[in-house]
Symmetry: C2
Subunit: 470 residues, 2 copies
Amino acid sequence: MNDTRDPNAPESAVETPDVVETQGVISPGFIAQVVGAVGDGDKPFLWRTVKELHPADVADLLEHLPPEAFRKAIHLLGKALPAEAVAELSDSARLEALHELTDAAVSSMIGHLDSDDASFLLSDLEEDRRDRILTRVSATDRAAIESALSFDEESAGRLMQRDFVAAPVFWTVGQAIDHMRTVKEDDLPETFFEIYIVDPAFRLQGSVPVSRLLRHGREKPLNEIMKETAVHVRPEMDQEEVAYLFRQYNLASAPVVDEAGRLTGMITIDDVVDVIQEEAEEDILALSGVSEAGVNQSVFSAVRARIPWLAVNLITAFFASAIVSLFAPVIDQVVALAFLMPVVAGLSGNAGSQALAVSVRAIAERDLEGPMIRRAIRREGLTALINGLIIAWSAALIVLAWFHSPTLSLVIGTSMTFTFCWAGMIGILAPLTLRRFGADPAVASSVFVLTSIDMASFFVFLGLASLVLL
Amino acid sequence: MNDTRDPNAPESAVETPDVVETQGVISPGFIAQVVGAVGDGDKPFLWRTVKELHPADVADLLEHLPPEAFRKAIHLLGKALPAEAVAELSDSARLEALHELTDAAVSSMIGHLDSDDASFLLSDLEEDRRDRILTRVSATDRAAIESALSFDEESAGRLMQRDFVAAPVFWTVGQAIDHMRTVKEDDLPETFFEIYIVDPAFRLQGSVPVSRLLRHGREKPLNEIMKETAVHVRPEMDQEEVAYLFRQYNLASAPVVDEAGRLTGMITIDDVVDVIQEEAEEDILALSGVSEAGVNQSVFSAVRARIPWLAVNLITAFFASAIVSLFAPVIDQVVALAFLMPVVAGLSGNAGSQALAVSVRAIAERDLEGPMIRRAIRREGLTALINGLIIAWSAALIVLAWFHSPTLSLVIGTSMTFTFCWAGMIGILAPLTLRRFGADPAVASSVFVLTSIDMASFFVFLGLASLVLL
């Protein structure tokens, strides 16, 4: 293989700017073209394409390739693959790309990344390969990466980068600017929005947004324009907590300090945006009983992500079924009950899902705290009662029109009013209880809530029917 | 009323820093204290509290007050209420606060805010009050706000602010810095992360991150260090699209340009973070059939947000019920079918919800585009088949053990395998179809998907049972 241009390459077909113009949406035609180039082993075309695209678009493009083309593309690109593009790949694609790349290629990528992205890249690798790669990077980078990896996954320590700008509290604006003009490019973060002011023991004193630094004359002492930082993130802090603080205080970046108040890193908004997105997604999926999903997920991992909840539900469904079986005599006598059972359970289940989604969201937003809890429970109770009355007695009217049985109509109206209230209450109380016991309200709630509503629906509806109709 | 300190105010009880220390979590004790102060009309305490807290925490605190205390607190605070705190309130609380404040108080707030927040605040007001308030603000502010309000809600035009820093393409670093040092504070945005480079017709040429500006000497021409901006946002662009671009390209801010390429505004990440959060929330709620939820939502608005979907479901539930009624003869003969119907429908419904959540998420993430669609449909189909086989035949075993009827066991196993596949397919095809017709996949999918699964489950299970058992 050689890296120089192949004179036979289909020069006329090179029209990559297409992608850039449509801002992130990669056209099927362009993907087909890239797949073709990969098949032909057309390195020059791939190298040029990758160079012209934003790394995030390179990642998108690679993810859109069929599995074999993906692997071959990574192989053909080798060191030409920008490190940032690899960092932007989805979890499974990133892992596969790293698998395809040589240790030399990976370690050269590591050198180009800020420490948070570098450790993120290495965190997925098996320990011995990680160690092999770390021996090839500079001692400073190695130390930063190893310290980042010592923190828990999903902690602030993993999100933070070691590259930041700090200035002593006695400096002036001019000294700070001169420092940034002279320091080696590699020793500064790629972008930063504030500089941190520290005392001689490197304890954080405050921060100066870069935009504020620019507005003051060179002679201005930094300690006159610095502000106290609104939040101090600790490296052990959960990433969800970090995301909350960024949202709450509209932050673009935040300093990370250790237990002694010493500045140890910086977290920037781009990483936090990913966390916010991730957490919201987790809640959506968890509420539907899916533990994980991804653009390039394999069938095997999709099955594994979904079967546990289905298995639990298989058991609980038969519990509900057992309750129905208790009432065989009344169903035998009035078969219409079998037609109406799903109406009672289905509608109450929906009312429960609604209450559950509202509550899980409110917990994630930290809106269910202190005195808000009682107010929210009251609201859910009243809402369930009102919706229950409206829906239950509409259903009763439909049943009256259908079966001409006032008794059956009364049974469905009464029991649905009750099961709606049950659904509303369990929909808020279950996630609150789970939170109290330290469990994730989104994950476990659905199973518990929906099963309990099914069971209550069958028991109340068929039980009342037995009392009245038998 | 007077604004000077009341000598009888409970001075000793003043311990606000509590809140700041716990970073955003407002303790019930502190809320009780504030409620007490509001009851006593203790203005000095309220004014001090508000001054010591971050505006976002002030908003949180106000939202945690009971409704009457909230209104009275707004009234007591009046002009002392920071504009930023009002902007941070939830929709309904903000509206109520604006209602409580005088025109004079609101117009003075408007003057303190960046134009995006100012127009956000005014967008909720009735037109004549808005006009009254606008007559009280400066002509520049009024023009900026009116032009922002001329764009659709949820468009980039509403998110963008008119305050930004632009420099002519022929300037040097030193000239740009001098300009920022001399310009009036009010004419600059509160924070900014990049300055925009424009030609004499104010057409955008590129941008220079502030952190890069600082690294270069005063003599350096800006056009040598500027980079092409990765994305050009148009004011008409949907906010969801804007959020996607910020996430895709890890942006902290982005310029907004009109159709002629002229720079008209800037969007910053803090507003985009709110959009990302909002859109994710909307999807969670929409998937459960809730149109709106909020921390201080009234029972009336909660009922209104949830009843439409319940009403649709009432109709669809009776459709499913009608299908069951077609099979009355077989249920009459084998009452066990009535016990097992909910098992088939419930488990298939869950498999459908899983596929739906995964697909809706993937659409929102733009992971379902071009060739990815076919791959995803294939994955959903295979996953549904495998999960279906596992769950359906486990259910068949349970039925065999329970009823000792191989026929009934075969009926449930076969029909559930089929309904699982149906659920998986409809779970991905319904949102894709809705998207093709321009509808929001999250909103309408649930109704359609779950009803169709219920109907398919009853029809296939009871139909097969009729064929085999009668």
